[in-house]
């Protein structure tokens, strides 16, 4: 996955977060979204939108292990899942 694609996925994730939170806030990419105003149900909303947008499946175990807590982690996970499904 090249940098352009990685950046475009991050942009898409940011847009999803902004849509759920109904704002244009500049989110810190590597900071926990709950420390930036998202509550637990916002997180679910964001993750469901990510599943729909990228046609992927997010596992509860990964959520519990904080693997989907920041925009950066979300983008990296999406890239990994999409990369694996290509092969």
């Amino acid at each position: 996955m090249n940098k352009v694609t990685s950046d475009s996925i991050k942009d898409k994730v940011v847009k999803i977060v902004q849509k759920v939170k109904k704002n244009n806030h500049n989110y810190v990419l590597n900071a926990h979204l709950t420390s930036q105003g998202a509550d637990s149900l916002d997180m679910f909303d964001i993750l469901i939108s990510i599943q729909d947008t990228f046609s992927i499946n997010i596992d509860i175990d990964q959520i519990e292990e904080d693997e989907w807590s920041t925009i950066e982690k979300m983008a990296n996970n999406i890239i990994n899942i999409l990369g694996n499904s290509d092969t």
Binding site: D39, F44, I48, I60
Partner: protein, 310 residues
């Protein structure tokens, strides 16, 4: 043809305020008002049993309907008065119904109303019965941990009773069912512990499958989305109803304004949420085609259509 003639209900007067739990659970007011959607939860008295709640719903039904000879009663609950025997027998006794009255429980949670309608209807049809009662009463308050935010802000207590007769106001059409037993642990009570809920698991399952169940149900009944007057979703929380509404509206724009959330001062009353909504439709607004969609524990989704005949 067995269908729904009327619905009675019981909501305990006591309410537990979720807004008084903000500090306890480190949440803000918007989380309660905009996400959970339940400002108050109905709470039965500690001495009230499931059969008591059902009996009170029956008293409410009697105020508006002539019941005649009741030939069977069915109760949907997972919190019966005792593990053994079936609570329907206790209800039969409390209501003074004759020994000839059949009585049985079904163990289902949030999809239980749709399941129960079809089970009771089929049971009555196969035995030539003309009048039966289908109760929902599943008071979760007794099995909630007061420290668990996931469940403590959600569940309320209530009971309903649906009068099923051969002179119905609403006909019960075909249903669609989805089960994902692999995820049975997402809503679970082990032995005598408190209720445990995996919110993500349930939300994800419902979000993925509720719309397709509604789609399948419309197809089975040869109904066009335009001809549907109302869609009654299980009132799990405002967040889930909003989430499923959003997805449903994408698939069926005609459903705009037809998916209510009306449990603000009641809570998630498990199998009782749909009949609590339907009760008012039957009495007051009289829509023709109504979709009922229950979803939750199991994991399970059940969708049906009821159609006005009178």
């Amino acid at each position: 043809m067995i269908g729904i003639e009327g619905i009675g209900s019981y909501l305990p007067d006591t309410m537990e305020s979720n807004l008084e739990k903000l500090n306890k659970f480190s949440i803000n007011k918007n989380f309660v008002t905009d996400k959970i959607g339940f400002l108050n939860l109905r709470r039965k008295a500690p001495y009230e049993t499931t059969s008591d709640l059902a009996s009170r719903a029956f008293s409410n039904l009697v105020e508006s309907y002539d019941l005649g000879d009741i030939e069977c009663i069915c109760l949907c609950t997972q919190n019966g008065d005792h593990l053994i025997p079936q609570t329907a027998s206790i209800i039969q006794h409390k209501l003074g119904l004759p020994h000839s009255c059949a009585a049985f429980d079904i163990s289902m949670s949030c999809s239980g109303y749709v399941y129960g309608l079809h089970i009771a209807k089929a049971f009555m049809d196969s035995n030539g019965f003309k009048r039966g009662l289908f109760f929902t009463a599943d008071p979760y308050s007794g099995i909630l941990s007061k420290y668990d935010k996931n469940t403590n802000l959600l569940f309320g207590d209530a009971a309903t009773v649906t009068l099923l007769t051969n002179k119905p106001a609403y006909e019960i059409k075909k249903a669609d069912f989805i089960t994902c037993g692999q995820k049975y642990g997402a809503l679970m009570r082990k032995e005598s512990s408190t209720l445990e809920m995996d919110g993500w698991g349930i939300l994800n399952f419902c979000s993925e499958n509720a719309v397709s169940s509604i789609k399948n149900c419309l197809k089975k009944n040869a109904l066009s989305p335009k001809s549907v007057d109302l869609v009654l979703l299980h009132q799990a929380s405002k967040f889930i109803v909003d989430m499923i509404s959003k997805k449903t509206l994408k698939a069926f724009p005609d459903f705009q304004g037809k998916i209510p959330f009306e449990a603000k001062n009641i809570g998630n009353t498990v199998s009782s949420t749909i009949p609590l909504l339907l009760r008012n439709i039957i009495k007051v607004s009289k829509e023709k085609s109504v979709v009922l969609c229950g979803f939750g524990g199991g994991l399970s989704i059940a969708t049906t259509v009821v159609e006005r005949v009178t």
